[in-house]
């Protein structure tokens, strides 16, 4: 099957620091890929390269978006969002002063077009568009179970709900691929269980999922395939059972102390 | 003619440099553009004159006294206005700095009146006004030599403090990483206040030198000089002390030559134009670090 996202020999340097070295992997449509590895392995850097926050020093990233396969290195974040890659952040980055609904409405930006004149003149098309934005935003809030909080302030939400709101915001950009950066971090077991259900629901909605996660049980449980990074190098890629048995992976995790076992 | 402009520009340039190090050091440690620094410079001149006329201090003693007063003022500014905002958004600190600037400027107007006054010439040693050197039409007065000398000594002293003392090391550490410096046992607030004191003392000297050089002082003098010194700091690369020195001299010379050969009407414009051009084309300045928004 044609991969949705293809990462080929991507290297990222910060000055003398090699954050990613010749990393290659692919994401297939309709799967959940887990990007795992010890702290400082380069997972978030990889996300940022894919999302357009960083430009890879070398290598290629190609994405089979709405306009066919595009080489995306060096494209800006807003362009990547437009192509159909959405993401959440490791440390939650909501628009704190805005309402829950407005957080999601902002995300419809890339799929809508009304401008200054539309806003001021309140043209018929602008009104239609605003209505559609609200409908679509509410649909995603419903999807993550936050509809009843729509008009509350985003920062008034409980921690787990803030993470869900970030996911709703990412989904509202209309992505083909969503990248979740440690979505379960800081969640209690109940919230984590609800998150697993939500991730499956995202997949059912036709959106491919890549996630960075530290919670091994969660990763092994929900991911179809895993890619393992250690010190910026891809050390394994494959189904969870195979990755778990890989000696290099065991060394990367257990060599650092058996705590994660 | 050219040589004369060069000499005049150089004299002015070292004064800008003296003020600019105050901006750049503070920016280095707390990333704040201390707008009120221009007012500290202005107050340095007023303190000096007041000490001479009201307390009868000799010229050189009055300069040192003005330096001390301004150092105290700098600490006061930090403690009262900026310290409470250390963790507030940058916008808040910047607006506070502008507010303090306007407050101090108007306070000076209330105390000393808004009109320009001459420097207490009777206290200034007479020989300073005499020509020290004359070489193919270029005049160099003792005052200019005095200014260049004082600036040089102060710069050297500053260099030694920053590079050879414990507190200087602490300042540099703070400029690198505030949290790490605090974890290493550095008293962050003390070091920041010390930085303010040091920069303010240098600014005070600059204020006195300018007031003597032009034989005039007025409450709004800190405004334009502040902008020019800030432009120097940016030109040299904000946060970099040697950069501020280089930037000041370059700007002073550019201004004198610009006024001499292009148009004296746009004399002040040179600083603004340099400021805008540097920020747009090379925001890291001659010797500084990059500042373009990553997002």
């Amino acid at each position: 099957m044609e991969p949705l996202l293809k990462v080929e020999n991507v290297t990222k340097r910060f000055g003398g620091l090699m954050a990613l070295a010749e990393v290659s992997f692919e994401v297939r449509p309709g799967e959940i890929l887990g990007l795992i590895g010890p702290n400082g392995a380069g997972k978030t850097t990889m996300f940022n390269c894919i999302a357009g926050v960083y430009k890879p020093t070398s290598g290629d990233i190609t994405f089979a978006g709405k306009d066919g396969v595009v080489r995306t290195n060096g494209l800006k974040p807003e362009k990547m969002t437009g192509l159909g890659i959405a993401r959440t952040f490791q440390n939650i980055r909501l628009f704190g002063a805005l309402s829950v609904l407005d957080n999601v409405r902002v995300a419809r930006h890339c799929r809508t077009s009304s401008n200054f004149f539309g806003a001021v003149l309140r043209t018929r098309s602008q009104k239609e568009e605003e209505k559609a934005i609200i409908e679509e935003s509410m649909r995603w809030l419903e999807f993550v179970g936050l509809a009843k909080h729509a008009l509350d302030n985003a920062t008034s939400l409980a921690y787990g709900n803030q993470r869900r709101l970030e996911i709703a915001r990412a989904l509202a950009t209309g992505p083909k691929l969503i990248m979740l950066d440690e979505p379960a971090a800081g969640m209690n077991p109940r919230e984590t269980r609800r998150l697993v259900d939500l991730i499956h629901a995202i997949l059912d909605a036709g959106v491919t999922v890549v996630l960075i996660e530290h919670d091994m049980k969660l990763v092994m449980h929900i991911c179809q395939r895993l890619a393992v990074l250690d010190h910026g190098v891809l050390i394994a890629e494959g189904v969870p059972e195979a990755v778990r048995a890989d000696p290099q992976v065991i060394e990367a995790y257990l060599g650092r102390g058996a705590a994660h076992a | 003619m050219f040589e004369q402009q060069l000499v005049n520009g150089l004299t002015l340039g070292v004064i800008y440099a003296l003020i600019a190090v105050g901006y750049t050091m503070v920016y280095g440690v707390i990333e704040l553009i201390n707008f009120a620094h221009g007012e500290v410079y202005m107050l340095g001149a007023f303190f000096c004159v007041t000490f001479i006329t009201a307390l009868g201090m000799p010229f050189y003693v009055a300069i040192v006294a003005a330096m001390l007063c301004c150092a105290l003022l700098g600490i006061l500014l930090d403690v009262v206005a900026y310290r409470p905002l250390r963790n507030a958004p940058r916008l808040a600190a910047l607006i506070t700095a502008i507010g303090m600037s306007i407050f101090l400027q108007n306070l000076a107007m209330i105390i000393w009146g808004s009109r320009a006054k001459p420097f207490a010439q009777e206290a200034v040693p007479a020989y300073l006004a005499e020509t020290a050197l004359e070489w193919s039409g270029v005049h160099l007065t003792w005052l200019q030599i005095f200014i260049l000398g004082v600036a040089l000594v102060m710069m050297l002293g500053l260099y030694l403090i920053i590079n050879k003392t414990r507190i200087g090391t602490a300042m540099r550490a703070l400029a690198q990483n505030k949290t790490a410096a605090a974890l290493m046992g550095i008293n962050v607030n003390f070091v920041i206040s010390f930085t303010f004191a040091l920069g303010s003392a240098m600014g005070a000297v600059a204020g006195v030198l300018v007031a003597v050089y032009y034989n005039t002082l007025y409450p709004t003098m800190g405004y334009v000089a502040g902008v020019k010194a800030f432009a120097s700091a940016v030109l040299g690369g904000i946060g970099s002390v040697p950069g501020a020195m280089v930037g000041g001299v370059v700007l002073g010379v550019a201004e004198a030559l610009g006024a001499g050969y292009v148009s004296s009407l746009y004399r002040d414009g040179v600083a603004y134009a340099v400021l805008i051009a540097v920020i747009i084309f090379r925001p890291s300045g001659i010797l500084g670090r990059a500042v373009v928004d990553k997002a």
Binding site: R93 | L91, V227, A295
Partner: protein, 349 residues
């Protein structure tokens, strides 16, 4: 509480609007009120940058000056009608906003603030030195007042607006217009993009907002509104001089925006009222105390420092409130209320 105040506000507004027509109306008072209205326009215009986008603009007065001189010069040299000049002045302001914004809006906050500051100073220098165009420090006297020219309908229908009263109404109309524009933008795709930039630039980019483009749009609109205020001011005061556009005017407008609460349009209006009234009051009181009227800026400086210290978000911090009045949101609110009462347990994903 606000709902109870509404009739009171309505009566007050009606009284204010009727006041100039009363036989006991006072020209000085009307002048001050019109000045307040001009600053309301400026405060609403500036509010876009620090309030909506989180950008500190220290050179707002530059655009005000550009608008004023555009208006004054076009009147003097070409005798153009006010109604033609206003859009031209706005466009000229916006044009300079774009020219300045495109290369500089990539910079982080402080640097951007400094560039705007330098720009405004250059504007003043230009106005002072280009005597052939602006008459320099002598100022630009003899600007024609605003007029309505309907002579193409009837040769007698030529009305010149003289005295304070018509300008008061004109200013009210201008404030109402800008208010409407601002409120509509606040509740729109454009406004939400700005708020997103203000709250978190990276997250905004991840939502598909082109940061630089939207900052430039903000800068252009803000500059255009500043120029609108200037265009009116020129035809109202009938005299311009470069020192009307010095830095502290920028600071004064910034004070208004900050005092009211960054991003709150109504707050900006309150800020304009408070600071202009305070300024006029101090202008009367200070000479009695033997101080120069200019020292009132001491009070402004102090106010800013104190607000930042104790109320860093201003007195009425509220952003993105306009959408609450949008029928679509009102409708949604009703739906949510029904939803919550119908199904107490909430939803599980």
């Amino acid at each position: 509480m606000l709902a109870k105040l509404k009739p009171v506000l309505f009566v007050l507004a009606a009284a204010a609007l009727a006041y100039p027509l009363m036989p006991f109306s006072n020209d000085y008072l009307l002048h001050v009120v019109t000045l307040v209205l001009v600053y309301m326009v400026l405060a609403m215009g500036l509010n876009i940058l620090p309030g909506f986008c989180g950008l500190l603009d220290l050179g707002f007065v530059g655009f005000y000056g550009i608008g004023a001189y555009t208006s004054g010069l076009l009147t003097i040299h070409y005798g153009m009608s006010f109604w033609v000049i206003v859009p031209l002045a706005c466009l000229n302001g916006a044009l300079w906003g774009v020219l300045l914004g495109v290369p500089t809006l990539r910079l982080v906050g402080d640097y951007f603030a400094i560039v705007t500051f330098g720009f405004a100073e250059l504007v003043v220098l230009f106005l002072t030195n280009e005597i052939w165009l602006t008459r320099g420090p002598l100022g630009l006297p003899g600007i024609e007042p605003v007029s309505f020219d309907f002579t193409w309908l009837n040769p007698d229908w030529y009305f010149e607006l003289i005295g304070e009263v018509p300008y008061f109404y004109l200013a009210v109309a201008m404030v109402a217009f800008v208010w409407l524009v601002m409120r509509r933008i606040e509740d729109s795709r454009l406004g939400r993009a700005w708020f997103a930039i203000r709250e978190d630039t990276l997250a905004a980019a991840s939502c598909g907002v082109n940061i630089l483009r939207y900052k430039v749009i903000a800068f252009a609109i803000s500059a255009g509104i500043g120029a609108l205020g200037g265009a009116f001011y020129a035809r109202w005061s009938l005299f311009l001089s470069p020192d009307m556009f010095k830095f502290w005017e920028s600071f004064l407008v910034l004070c208004m925006v900050v005092l009211g609460g960054l991003g709150n349009i109504a707050g900006a209006l309150v800020g304009a009222v408070v600071l202009i009234v305070l300024g006029e009051g101090l202008r009367e009181i200070l000479p009695i105390l033997g101080l120069a009227p200019e020292t009132r800026f001491l009070a402004y400086g102090l106010i800013m420092v104190l607000i930042m210290r104790f109320k860093p978000a201003g007195f009425f911090p509220a952003i993105a409130t306009a959408s609450a009045r949008n029928p679509l949101i009102k409708d949604l609110k009703k739906r949510l209320a029904g939803y919550a009462s119908g199904e107490k347990s909430g939803t599980a994903a």
